[in-house]
Symmetry: C2
Subunit: 277 residues, 2 copies
């Protein structure tokens, strides 16, 4: 058997995968990119030593980032994804036939290239004619873009360090709000309250200030090993409980984690978090 590859969190916890081999290792302008072939999760994307996504469990994360927003927003014609260079998020977005155009803004073109080559089972929608890929800084895009508002904006960044750091602050959220249709929905991954409680709470509270309403929702991502993962749904007018049944029902023919019961269940808040949310 091969060696272990460990992701270490704050020198307190580590999660290790036994690897068969390293399929790719390179340094881009932004970060170290690795693709590991592992015993448990199949191929795994690692950025700066942090496990991002895997062939075996990517659907937990991508379905839950995408579908609560896409099954509740009144219109889903125009969608913006910031980050998401592995292609999983945009794949789930483009499952919805109502989508007419989708823009993906990824800062690191090398992540897209490496994932297209080594994680082809995740990024199956790169050639969809509705998709425009912009290699560039999502923070600058949100600040400067002069385009028709988006119906849904999804933020698919990693942890708030390194190239994703600017994706976790109020001025960036305000720029996203400017690009969001008044009845649009914004959703993002918002870390785990188990290991990153303050970051999680800060995301929810900041989005609430910016858009008026924000709801964290809960699920699990086995690769992230914290037992409980969250995403946050924010909107000026849309309630995440008001799901459009026909859209969700249609999805259930293809999703592996998401369905209508999971959607509603994900909004239940553990008791200890209620007073601080």
């Amino acid at each position: 058997m091969g060696p272990w590859y460990d992701e270490v969190f704050a020198d307190r916890v580590r999660f290790g995968l036994k690897i068969r081999r390293v399929l790719y290792s390179g340094q881009s302008d932004h970060q170290k990119i690795e693709i590991l072939d592992t015993e448990q999760f199949g191929r795994v994307l690692v950025l700066d030593g942090v496990f991002m996504t895997s062939e075996a469990d990517e659907y937990f994360y991508h379905e839950m980032l995408v579908h609560p927003a896409m099954t509740t927003a009144p219109r889903i014609r125009r969608v913006l994804v910031i980050g998401g260079g592995d292609g999983g998020t945009i794949r789930e977005v483009l499952r919805h036939p109502e989508v007419e155009s989708a823009v993906l803004v990824e800062i690191d073109g090398q992540v897209v290239e490496v994932c297209r080559q080594h994680l082809a089972s995740i990024g199956t929608a790169w050639d969809d004619p509705r998709l425009e890929v912009v290699i560039g800084d999502g923070v600058a895009f949100a600040r400067e873009a002069d385009v028709e508002p988006f119906d849904v904006i999804l933020l698919d960044g990693c942890d708030p360090v390194g190239p994703s750091e600017g994706l976790f602050n109020e001025s960036f959220f305000r720029d996203c709000a400017r690009l969001l249709h008044p009845d649009g929905v914004f959703a993002m991954q918002s870390e785990t309250p188990v290991f990153m409680r303050e970051v999680f709470l800060d995301i929810v509270h900041t989005l609430r200030r910016v858009l008026g309403h924000a709801w964290p929702y809960f699920g699990s991502v086995p690769l992230y090993s914290a037992g409980m993962w969250t995403w946050t749904f924010a909107s000026r007018t849309v309630d995440p409980l008001d799901l459009i049944d026909e859209r969700a029902q249609r999805l259930e023919a293809v999703t592996r984690y998401y369905n209508r019961e999971i959607h509603l269940a994900s909004l239940a808040v553990p008791n200890a978090l209620k007073p601080v949310l």
Copy 2:
């Protein structure tokens, strides 16, 4: 900083905790018992190298094992716990004032002694006069006990290896069914479908054969690192959705994970598991 202590699963995945010191290490007649003082989870009980429970996250596990059964069973006067030598499960059981007598059958008296000494914040109910502690084999107890039926039976065993192996098979479940009141509820931890899918499915299907109805329910236990943990609720007559609102509402003053929304949400089944359950 101290060294790492890793739990290794099937030579494929490992989860490591940075430890400050080892507070206890000993070999009982049944297993190796360790208490670690860790940076992330406080004190952790380890049996034969497997993380069992911790000061920091024990409530995720114990509240979810206990309260779905205790808030739905029509009567909760007599409760049996098999396993659970750390005392967390029986503590949650005894929160319910309707309980008149509770029996805990733990095979390893040394686990109880070590936990009473080192994990006193978990086992806060050892001196409750309603509690009878039996140090003995739960399998033999279930087979041989000649007692009034129990309203609720909770199985708090570890993985199906070592001293817990006999707690995961049909003949044991049939013995528990014999001890269960016709309108009683049986609940147990049932592993994670992420790493132990066949064990999980086997528990649900076997309980369904034995008691007629069984529902897995889902949550997270950060220390178990798989992202998704399950328990299974089984009963001849009780539906886990029919919760007795007054009991659950009363609990919410003290629980840290469990509440009525979490109870109902935990029964949502991820899409890929529906066809096989």
